[in-house]
């Protein structure tokens, strides 16, 4: 019992600390840059590139952060202009829902198959 309590305390401590840390940063532009594709480069993100295009996008994103736009609004703005191709994290919409759901479906199905399999073999 003592162990469980210590465990919980320690866990809470590290958790609380991490939350406090997360609140310190508002929006990290570098994170946004990494999530944007540099359209004129070969598979590079805007953050990793120093091309003309990447420089422009970096300026615009920084401006929009200053204007107080949220991360989501910035992505939406860029998608409106350049299409979904520009974001590395596909939106959850009617085209991409399979991409997001299928892996979990596989995960659940796999677990179920194993359980069924074990049940069946235990009967023998």
């Amino acid at each position: 019992m003592r162990i469980i309590i210590t465990l919980l305390i320690l866990f809470n401590l590290s958790f609380v600390q991490s939350v406090a840390q997360a609140e310190k940063f508002s929006i990290n532009p570098n994170k946004i840059f990494k999530n944007l594709r540099c359209l004129i480069c070969q598979g590079q993100s805007v953050g990793d590139s120093n091309s003309e295009f990447a420089q422009t996008i970096k300026l615009v994103v920084k401006d929009q952060i200053k204007e107080g736009k949220s991360e989501k609004e910035i992505y939406e703005f860029l998608i409106e202009k350049y299409g979904e191709w520009i974001v590395y994290k596909p939106l959850f919409n009617k085209v991409n829902f399979l991409l997001w759901l299928f892996p979990y479906l596989v995960f659940v199905a796999g677990g179920t198959i194993i359980i069924l399999f074990l049940k069946k073999s235990n009967n023998h």
Binding site: K34, S45, E52, L99, P103, V106
Partner: protein, 628 residues
């Protein structure tokens, strides 16, 4: 001259392939229990010729014989010898020849080392492997011939892309190919096993070492590619979830699943059909990866020169392979009785496979999803690192816990759980994680779980290691790989959380301060080298806290053949961290864009990956010693 010689050898190989199949079919009438000498001899010729043809191509590269198109397009007489040689497989045609070689080598050695297995099983494996060889040989000769000539002979070659002129990339393709082309042999063996009903333990024994070889090399190959990406692409990352990287990872997951479940087949004579599926799947995924990479169907960092006819050929070949496997499999599949206890090593191996398949499907889906959206809806989407990180990382936590517990569970039926011990390990992991966040810096919610679970695996593997030392067991291969995997995840986690990245513009003489660092742009030099010019910057990195000075020298290189500009990172590696600087010019100004990164534990990430593959090699030596 060399071209004719090389071509002749390739055609001879084609003929040999046909002959081997012809005589192998003839073997069925032969009532002897051994395979006749004739076939051994033919196979010996086959492997000799294919190696000579490869040496011929290497020679053409070394002496810069520009009458051969491949050499003309990918080499230059002024290139250093190492890169002339590595240029041989640094292009589509040459690397395809490497495919054929590895197919042949594995075919030959499988024939030799499977002597104590059933004759029909060996013969049919040989036939199927030779069908694969013929398929790729046809493709090589008639579509992507490395010995095609160009007239009139150009005076000078176009040169190898400078970012490919690198030692890690020189060894990357051979390692990787031994891995995923090597998986062809258990594809053939699995097909043969289905046809001849040579199943169960014996089948497992006949392929387990081949699985180990391919898995160990695949691991090293992925590592070499990753190291190359780290210091050559100049972005400071080592894994980008790029389609080409994913293509090398897909067969790796299938192999890892196979590596585990084959033990169940060998020890308990169960899961036969599942093992067969994994055998077939591994090589099918290897060919799929090649299709995705070489056909130009995907956008990627690493581009092979694309040509739709190549894609079409590989796609047709791939479809034939898949349909043949599926039809054969369903013809032979029967429901068998299983005797599994839920609390047994077998179950945990199934759990391993469950996760492997989950990772595999996720990565496969992410890689090919853009093709589907584009073909079906005309939408262009990018599936990049944020997708994989979001879907995969939380599941890794669970996986690491299972990975720690699995090896402690006994085969057949486990009697007792040592819950108390597990609890203590968990407590220790949480404590260490807490110390890390306390003394260094805290990180995100999810990172806590990742690090705790990695520590859990490490501690539990260390205890295992200690136990096996006490018992004087020599076979510590499994512990080595598991321990190294724990460290890999731990160091990746720490690296991810404690990396520092700053991106800014500086003029010569200027200084930039941030956190505990100041960076001064002290000098800029122009230097002429044999095959490129370089603008070399000198940067003084000052760690203000420790008052430590270091100089880094990133370069902008201008290559002549072919005309390319590359940005060379300057990296100062130490045991605890790497400093990493790249510099690039800002157009139409005196400023340079500087990217500074502090990356902790980079070296340990590489070392961990080496140890993962070392585990595979250890098991291989252990198996070899046991058999002879």
């Amino acid at each position: 001259m060399l071209s004719n010689f090389g071509n002749t050898l390739l055609f001879l190989n084609l003929l040999l392939g046909v002959l081997i199949i012809y005589f192998s079919v003839g073997e069925f009438q032969n009532s002897k229990i051994t395979i006749s000498k004739k076939i051994y001899q033919l196979c010996l010729f086959q492997i000799t010729f294919v190696i000579i043809s490869f040496l011929t191509l290497i020679t053409a590269f070394i002496i810069s014989d520009f009458s051969i198109i491949t050499v003309y397009q990918n080499s230059h007489s002024l290139k250093p010898l190492l890169y002339k040689i590595s240029g041989t497989w640094g292009n589509h045609e040459g690397s395809l020849l490497l495919w054929v070689i590895i197919l042949t080598i594995f075919s030959f050695f499988f024939l030799i080392y499977s002597k104590n297995h059933q004759k029909n099983y060996r013969i049919i494996s040989l036939i199927i492997q030779n069908i694969l060889i013929l398929g790729f040989l046809f493709f090589l000769i008639f579509n992507s011939n490395p010995f095609s000539i160009i007239a009139p002979t150009p005076k000078e070659g176009l040169g190898l892309n400078p970012i490919l002129q690198d030692p890690a990339l020189a060894i990357h393709p051979p390692l990787l190919y031994i891995g995923f082309v090597g998986s062809s042999i258990y594809f053939s063996a699995a097909m043969s096993s289905l046809i001849t009903n040579y199943s169960g333990k014996l089948f497992a024994q006949s392929i387990k070492n081949w699985v180990l070889i391919s898995w160990s090399f695949q691991t090293l190959g992925i590592l070499a590619g990753s190291i190359w990406a780290y210091y050559e692409l100049g972005w400071g990352g080592f894994w980008f979830w790029d389609p080409v990287e994913n293509a090398s990872l897909l067969p790796w997951f299938a192999m890892s699943a196979l590596l585990h479940s084959i033990m169940v087949l060998e020890k308990r004579n169960q899961l036969y059909f599942w093992v067969i599926i994994l055998c077939l799947l591994t090589f099918i995924l290897s060919v799929t990866g090649t299709f995705l990479v070489r056909s130009g169907i995907l956008n990627s960092v690493h581009t092979f020169a694309n040509d739709p006819s190549r894609g079409l050929y590989i796609l047709i070949f791939l479809s034939l392979m898949i349909f043949a496997s599926v039809f054969l499999f369903f013809n032979k599949f029967k429901n068998s009785n299983y005797g599994f206890y839920s609390n047994s090593r077998e179950t945990f191996i199934l759990i391993n496979n469950w996760f492997m398949i989950f990772y595999l499907i996720t990565i496969l889906l992410g890689t090919i999803y853009p093709i589907f959206t584009e073909v079906l809806t005309d939408y262009k989407v990018s599936v990049g690192p944020p997708f994989y990180n979001t879907v995969i990382i939380p599941i890794v936590v669970l996986f690491l816990f299972f990975m720690s517990i699995g090896p402690r569970i006994k085969w057949i039926k486990n009697k007792s759980y040592n819950l108390n011990l597990l609890f203590k390990i968990l407590l220790a992991s949480i404590l260490i994680n807490f110390l890390i966040t306390y003394f260094f810096n805290s990180y995100s919610f999810l990172s806590n779980f990742i690090i705790i679970s990695a520590l859990f695996l490490i501690i539990s593997s260390l205890l295992d290691l200690n136990k096996s030392f006490k018992k004087k067991e020599i076979n510590s291969s499994r512990v080595t790989s598991h321990l190294a995997f724990g460290f890999l995840i731990l160091f990746i986690g720490l690296n991810h959380n404690f990396s520092l990245e700053e991106d800014f513009n500086l003029k010569l003489g200027e200084k930039k301060k941030f956190d505990n660092y100041s960076i001064e742009f002290t000098d800029l030099k122009l230097k002429d080298f044999e095959n490129y010019k370089a603008v070399i910057g000198k940067f003084q990195i000052n760690n203000l806290k420790k008052n430590l000075n270091q100089f880094l020298y990133p370069e902008i290189r201008i290559y002549d053949n072919p005309k390319t500009i590359t940005y060379e990172a300057s990296i100062r590696s130490s045991f605890l961290k790497d400093y990493y600087i790249t510099m690039s010019n800002v157009d139409r100004s005196d400023y340079y864009n500087i990217k500074f990164q502090k990356k902790p534990f980079m070296m340990w990430i590489w070392i961990s990956a080496i140890f993962i593959s070392l585990g595979g090699f250890l098991r291989l030596f252990h198996n070899a010693k046991k058999n002879y």
